[in-house]
C-alpha cells in the first residue's frame, strides 16, 4: 500500500473498498458489490433469497437500528456481494430507511443497483426507479410478480419499459425462481461494463424553480466536473438535504467526483492542490444553494414530486396493457346504473341488508338453541359429575365449572351461530364489490357529519359484532374518519345485545298492549332502538369531528373495484377464520375471568352477605337515580366481557338479591328461563317497572363497549387516549340519557 503513488489512489479498487468498508461492507472475498433496492411488498426479500440461497447473514447498518441482510453469489469467474437495502418508496431521505438506502447508492457506489418492481403496481414503483436512475446509470430493473399481473389481465412490455427507462428490465417470478438466471446474467453484464445504461433523466420541472435548478446544476458541474449526477445533487441541495451538505463540507462528494472522473477518463486523476480547490468551490456551492432556495417559490417541492409521478405514470401507461374486454366494462356499468340509480339504489340497499339481518337472526336461533342444550344442558352437568368424582371441593367445582366454564359456554353458544352466518354473507358482498357502491351512495350523508362513506360498511359490520366492526375500519385510510368510525361503532346494536333488547321489549313494552299487537309493538321498539343508535352515530360523529378530532388530518379516497364473482367456499372459509374465530377467541379469553369473577362475587360472603349483594346495595342509589337499579349496574359491570351474558347474570343476581327461592341453579350461577312469563315475574319480584325496562334498553344501546371491543380498539389505534375515549364516551352518554329519561318520566308519569 505504501508503495502506491498517491496519484493513483482514486482509481484503485482498494480505495473503493476502503469506502465500502466505512459503510460496513467487507469486500475481502468479492469482486463486485450489488445493491438490491425496491418498494416494500414487491417480493424483494424473495428475490434476495432466490439469489443468495442460504449464503447470507443479517445485521444492522452501522450506527442505525435498521436491519440489513447481505449475501453472495458467484457467476462465471466473478464473485458478487449482494446488499439488501431497506424497502422504501422513495429516496428523498425523510426517514431513516430512505436515508440509509440513498446513502449507500450514492456514497458506496455499488457496481450495480437492482431495483425490484411489482408489475401490478408499476406507476407507484417506478417513482423509486426514476430516483435511483437520477443517481446512477448502473442499474437493472427486476420486474417481479409478473405471474400475478397476468392473472389480473395485465401484460407489461418489458422491452418497451427498458427503452423508456434506458436501463435493462428483466421479468421474474422470484417465488418460482423464474427469470433469476437472466437477472444475474444482466447484472454481470452491467458490472463488467458490457451493458451500458443510458437513463433518460428528468428534464422539466415547471414553474419558478426551473431557473434555480439550472443555475445550481451549472455551478456544480463547473466546481465538480467529474460528478455524473450533478443535476440530482443540485435538486437535493435545493431541497435542503443536510446529508448532502455535510458530504460536500467533508469532502466526500469531492472524492466521488474524483472517482467517477477517474472511472471515465483513463488519465488525469484529481490530485493534491486540485482537490483542495475543488473543496473550496464545493463549499461555496452550499452557500449558493441556500441563497437560491429563497428563489424557489412556494410550490417547488410539490412541483418536483408531481413531475416525477407524471413521468412514472406516462412510462407505465406505455408499458402496460390491460386485457379487460370492453364487454366487461359494459356489464359493470349496467350493474352500477342499477345500483346507484335514484329509484332503485336505496331500496336495493335496504333490501339486501334486511335479508342479511333476517337470515342471521332466523338462521341462528336453532343452532344457538342446540349449542346451549349441548354445552349447558349436557356438558355442564357432566363436568359437575366429573368434578364430584374427583372429589373437588365445592368451591373449586363452583369456580371452575359453574363460573368459568359456564360463562364461556354461554358466550360461545350465543355468539357463534349468528357470527358464523353474518360474517360470510357480509364478506361475500364485500368480495363481490357491492359494498363499495353502498359507501359511494351514502357518502353524502356521512360527509355532513364529518365522516367517511365507508363508515356505512363498518357500521353494518358492527351490527354483527362491534369488535369486527372496529377491525373493519382498516378500510378507511384517513386517520380522522377512521377514529370517528371506531368510536361510534358502539352505537350499532351488535348481535349480543339483541336477545336483551328483544326479551325486555317483549316483557315491558309488549306487556302494555293487547296480545295481538304485542309482537308487533315489541319488535318496533327494538327497531326503534336500533334506529336511535344509527341517529346517534351521525350525531356523535359530527360532535367528534368538531371537537376532539378537529385537527386530525383528513383525506378522502374511495375506489369502485370491478365486480368480481365471489368465490363462495373460499370466502366462507376465510371469513370464518379471520373474523368469526378471531372474535370468538378474544371473547373466550375475557369470558373465563369474568365467569370466575361472577361466581366469586356471588359466593364469597362478607359479614353474612355475598360480595355481590354488597355491591348491589352500594350501586342501588345511583342506579335508581338513573331509572335502573343496583342489580343492573352490577350485571353490566361483570358482563363487560360479553353482552351475551347480561341476561343470565341479571337473573342470577335478581334471584339472589330478592331472595327468590326455587328458581335458578344455585347462588352465583347464571341461568335463563324458557318461558318469558316466568322471567317477567322474577324481574317484577325484583322491583322492575316499565321505566326500568325502557332505561335498560337505552342503557344496553349506550353503555361502554364489551372488553373484546375495547381490546380490539386498543390494538387498532395503539393509543391509550382514544381507547379511553371510545370506552367512556358511550358510558357517559348512557348515564346522561338514562338520568334525563328517568327524571322526566317520574315527573310526568310519576
Amino acid at each position: 500500500m505504501s508503495e502506491c503513488p498517491p496519484s493513483n489512489c482514486e482509481g484503485c479498487p482498494a480505495h473503493h473498498a476502503g469506502n465500502l468498508k466505512k459503510l460496513g461492507v467487507n469486500m475481502d472475498q468479492f469482486d463486485y458489490v450489488v445493491a438490491l433496492a425496491g418498494n416494500p411488498n414487491t417480493g424483494k426479500s424473495t428475490v434476495f433469497n432466490a439469489i443468495t440461497g442460504l449464503r447470507q447473514h443479517t445485521g444492522n447498518w452501522p450506527g442505525k437500528t435498521v436491519a440489513r441482510a447481505e449475501g453472495g453469489f458467484a457467476l462465471g469467474e466473478s464473485r458478487y456481494k449482494l446488499v439488501d437495502l431497506p424497502g422504501t418508496y422513495s429516496l428523498l431521505s425523510t426517514t431513516v430507511d430512505e436515508e440509509v438506502a440513498r446513502n449507500f447508492i450514492l456514497f458506496a457506489r455499488p457496481d450495480v443497483t437492482v431495483v425490484v418492481v411489482d408489475a401490478n403496481h408499476l406507476e407507484r414503483n417506478l417513482n423509486l426507479v426514476l430516483q435511483v436512475l437520477e443517481i446512477t446509470d448502473r442499474a437493472v430493473v427486476c420486474l417481479n410478480l409478473v405471474d400475478e399481473a397476468k392473472r389480473h389481465g395485465r401484460t407489461v412490455d418489458h422491452r418497451r419499459l427498458a427503452r423508456d427507462l434506458g436501463v435493462p428490465v428483466v421479468p421474474t417470478v422470484a417465488r418460482s425462481n423464474t427469470g433469476i438466471d437472466e437477472l444475474l446474467n444482466t447484472v454481470a453484464g452491467v458490472a463488467s461494463g458490457e451493458i451500458v445504461g443510458k437513463p433518460k433523466r428528468n428534464a422539466a420541472v415547471r414553474g419558478q424553480g426551473r431557473r434555480a435548478i439550472e443555475e445550481m446544476t451549472e455551478l456544480i458541474e463547473s466546481a465538480l466536473p467529474g460528478l455524473s449526477n450533478a443535476r440530482w445533487v443540485a435538486m437535493r441541495l435545493l431541497d435542503g438535504d443536510r446529508r448532502l451538505e455535510e458530504a460536500i463540507h467533508s469532502g466526500e462528494l469531492v472524492e466521488l467526483a474524483g472517482q467517477s472522473a477517474s472511472g471515465e477518463v483513463a488519465s488525469g486523476a484529481v490530485v493534491g492542490t486540485d482537490a483542495i480547490a475543488m473543496t473550496t468551490a464545493a463549499r461555496s456551492i452550499v452557500e449558493s444553494s441556500r441563497a437560491l432556495r429563497w428563489d424557489l417559490g412556494v410550490g417547488f417541492q410539490d412541483a418536483v414530486t408531481e413531475s416525477m409521478y407524471a413521468r412514472a405514470a406516462r412510462i407505465a401507461d406505455r408499458a402496460v396493457s390491460l386485457a379487460d374486454t370492453p364487454r366487461r366494462f359494459d356489464l359493470d356499468r349496467v350493474v352500477d346504473n342499477l345500483v346507484t340509480s335514484r329509484w332503485l339504489g336505496f331500496p336495493i340497499m335496504l333490501g339486501i341488508l334486511g335479508v342479511i339481518f333476517w337470515l342471521t337472526i332466523a338462521g341462528a336461533n336453532v343452532p344457538s338453541g342446540m349449542l346451549a342444550t349441548l354445552l349447558i344442558g349436557k356438558v355442564h352437568p357432566m363436568l359437575l359429575a366429573f368434578g364430584a368424582q374427583l372429589h373437588f371441593p365445592w368451591w373449586l367445582s363452583g369456580l371452575l365449572i359453574d363460573g368459568m366454564y359456564l360463562a364461556t359456554a354461554w358466550v360461545v353458544s350465543v355468539m357463534l351461530p349468528p357470527m358464523a352466518i353474518f360474517f360470510p354473507l357480509f364478506t361475500i358482498l364485500e368480495d363481490f364489490g357491492y359494498l363499495a357502491r353502498v359507501a359511494f351512495n351514502l357518502d353524502g350523508m356521512f360527509k355532513r357529519s364529518g365522516a367517511h362513506g365507508k363508515q356505512a360498511l363498518t357500521m353494518s359490520m358492527g351490527f354483527g359484532c362491534n369488535a369486527a366492526g372496529v377491525v373493519a375500519t382498516r378500510i378507511i385510510d384517513s386517520r380522522r374518519e377512521r377514529l370517528i368510525a371506531i368510536i361510534t361503532n358502539n352505537f350499532a346494536l351488535c348481535n349480543g345485545r339483541w336477545p336483551t333488547q328483544i326479551l325486555i321489549a317483549t316483557i315491558f313494552i309488549g306487556g302494555l298492549v293487547p296480545a295481538q299487537l304485542a309482537g308487533f309493538v315489541s319488535a318496533s321498539a327494538v327497531v326503534g332502538i336500533a334506529v336511535l343508535g344509527v341517529g346517534l352515530t351521525f350525531a356523535v360523529s359530527w360532535f367528534l369531528s368538531r371537537t376532539m378530532l378537529r385537527g386530525e388530518p383528513t383525506s378522502f379516497s374511495l375506489e369502485l373495484p370491478p365486480y368480481r364473482p365471489p368465490r363462495f367456499w373460499r370466502t366462507v372459509y376465510t371469513s370464518l377464520i379471520d373474523r368469526t374465530i378471531f372474535v370468538l377467541w378474544r371473547a373466550i379469553m375475557f369470558a373465563v375471568p369474568a365467569g370466575a369473577a361472577i361466581w366469586l362475587a356471588g359466593n364469597i360472603n362478607i359479614g353474612g352477605v355475598s360480595i355481590a349483594q354488597h355491591l348491589i346495595g352500594a350501586f342501588d342509589p345511583f342506579g335508581l337515580l338513573l331509572g335502573l337499579n343496583g342489580v343492573i349496574l352490577l350485571a353490566y359491570l361483570v358482563a363487560i366481557p360479553a353482552n351475551e351474558i347480561v341476561i343470565p347474570t341479571l337473573l342470577m343476581l335478581t334471584v339472589m338479591n330478592a331472595g327468590i327461592g326455587g328458581v335458578g341453579a344455585g347462588s352465583g350461577v347464571m341461568f335463563e328461563l324458557e318461558s318469558v312469563a316466568d322471567t317477567a315475574s322474577i324481574l317484577q319480584a325484583g322491583g322492575w317497572t316499565v321505566l326500568t325496562g325502557v332505561n335498560l334498553m337505552l342503557f344496553s344501546l349506550l353503555h361502554n363497549p364489551c372488553s373484546t371491543t375495547i381490546y380490539t380498539i386498543w390494538k387498532e389505534t395503539r393509543s391509550r387516549r382514544w381507547t379511553i375515549v371510545a370506552s367512556l364516551l358511550p358510558l357517559v352518554m348512557g348515564f346522561l340519557v338514562c338520568f334525563l329519561v328517568a327524571q322526566v318520566w317520574r315527573l310526568i308519569i310519576g
Binding site: 408531481e306 360527509k447 385537527g551 388530518p553 383525506s555 378522502f556 369502485l560
Partner: protein
C-alpha cells in the same frame, strides 16, 4: 328519592358550573392556567418590535394589552437582559434581541407550516394557534420540526421562515391592487391580520400559489379569474394579497382555467395539476390514485345523496368529493371515451 325536579335542577347547575370553569379557552380555570407568563410577554414584545420597528412604552403596552406598569416591568427586564435598548426615547432591538425574535418567528411560521401540511385545522385558525404555540417550542424542537417538514422556506401565508441561523429574506412583492386589468400573477403572500379580512379571503377560496388574471378593475371592485371562476374583491381585501407577476414561460399555467368540478357526464379531460390548496396526505393520496399531470380522466357517474362523483382514471374507477374536484385543474381533451 328526591323529586325529579330537584335532580334536574342540581344536574343543570353542575353543567353550568362546569362550562363556566372549563370551557376551552374561555373557562376560568383554563384561562388562569394559560395566563401570560412574563416570558411570553417578553417574546411578544420582541415580535412586536421586529414587525413594527421602534416603539414607545405606551405603544408596547397597547400591543400587549397590559397596564403601563406591567409594560414597564417587562421593558425593564428586557433592557437588563440586553434584548432591547433605548434609541432616542423609543425602544429598539439589540442584536441579541433580534436573534431571539427571529427564533420566535421561526417557531411560529414552522408551526403554521405544520398545521397546514400535517393537520386538518381550518386555515383561519392557523395564525391564532401558532401564536399560542410559538412560546413553547424550543430551538431543538424547531430544528426537528423543520427537518420533518423538509426545511420549508415559506409558511402557508407566504412569509419566509428564518433558518436556524436566523437568516431571512423578505421577498419583493406587489400588492394586488397595483396590477392592471389583463395582468396575470400568482399569489405569494396573504396577510393574516386583521383576522376578519383573512377569514374573508379564506371564505373566497383564495390561497398562496393561486394563479389568477385580473378581469376588471374599478374604484370599488377588483374582479379576478382563477380556477375556472370569477372572484370579486373589495379594495381593502385585495390590499392584503401580495403577488408576483407570472414569467412568460409560466403563462401556460393560465390555460387550465377549468377544474374537474366542471367536467360534464360522459366527457374526458386531461389533468393539468393539483392545486396548491391541496396539501399533505390529501395531495399524496390523489397522486397515488393516479391523478397526476398528463393523466386522462373521464366522468363516470354521480352518486346518490349528492355526495360523490365517480371518475375513471387509468383503468380504475374512483369516487371524489366535490371539494377535491375543485382542486384538480383540467384541460378538455378530444379523446374518445373507451
Amino acid at each position: 328519592m328526591q323529586a325529579p325536579l330537584v335532580n334536574l335542577f342540581i344536574f343543570a347547575s353542575m353543567c353550568v358550573a362546569a362550562a363556566v370553569l372549563f370551557w376551552p379557552r374561555r373557562g376560568i380555570v383554563v384561562r388562569r392556567r394559560g395566563e401570560s407568563l412574563e416570558r411570553v410577554l417578553v417574546e411578544d414584545t420582541l415580535k412586536h418590535l421586529y414587525h413594527n420597528g421602534e416603539q414607545t412604552l405606551t405603544q408596547v403596552a397597547d400591543a400587549l394589552r397590559v397596564s403601563g406598569e406591567r409594560a414597564l416591568r417587562i421593558v425593564d427586564r428586557m433592557q437588563r437582559g440586553e434584548l432591547i435598548e433605548l434609541c432616542e426615547e423609543k425602544f429598539c432591538l439589540t442584536s441579541e434581541g433580534l436573534a431571539y425574535a427571529l427564533q420566535i418567528i421561526r417557531a411560529h411560521r414552522l408551526w403554521e407550516r405544520h398545521l397546514a401540511d400535517e393537520t386538518g385545522h381550518d386555515p383561519v385558525e392557523w395564525h391564532a394557534r401558532a401564536e399560542r404555540r410559538e412560546h413553547s417550542i424550543t430551538r431543538e424542537e424547531a430544528d426537528d420540526l423543520a427537518a420533518r417538514l423538509g426545511y420549508p422556506r415559506f409558511d402557508p401565508h407566504g412569509d419566509p421562515i428564518p433558518t436556524s441561523d436566523g437568516v431571512l429574506r423578505e421577498a419583493e412583492t406587489l400588492a394586488l391592487p397595483q396590477l392592471d386589468s389583463g395582468d396575470a400573477a400568482t399569489i405569494v403572500h396573504l396577510e393574516d391580520e386583521p383576522a376578519v379580512v383573512y377569514a374573508q379571503l379564506m371564505a373566497l377560496g383564495v390561497y398562496v400559489g393561486m394563479i389568477l388574471r385580473i378581469e376588471a378593475k374599478t374604484e370599488g371592485r377588483l374582479v379576478l379569474a382563477a380556477d375556472g371562476r370569477s372572484i370579486i374583491l373589495a379594495p381593502v381585501v385585495a390590499g392584503n394579497i401580495s403577488v408576483r407577476r407570472l414569467e412568460p414561460f409560466e403563462s401556460e399555467e393560465l390555460e387550465s382555467a377549468e377544474t374537474l368540478a366542471s367536467l360534464q357526464p360522459g366527457d374526458t379531460a386531461e389533468v393539468v395539476r393539483i392545486s396548491q390548496k391541496c396539501r399533505g396526505v390529501e395531495r399524496r393520496r390523489l397522486m397515488d390514485l393516479g391523478v397526476v399531470p398528463g393523466t386522462s380522466i373521464q366522468f363516470e357517474r354521480r352518486g346518490l345523496t349528492g355526495g360523490l362523483t365517480a371518475y375513471r382514471v387509468r383503468g380504475t374507477v374512483i369516487g371524489l368529493r366535490e371539494e377535491q374536484t375543485t382542486m384538480i385543474a383540467i384541460r378538455p381533451s378530444k379523446e374518445v371515451a373507451s
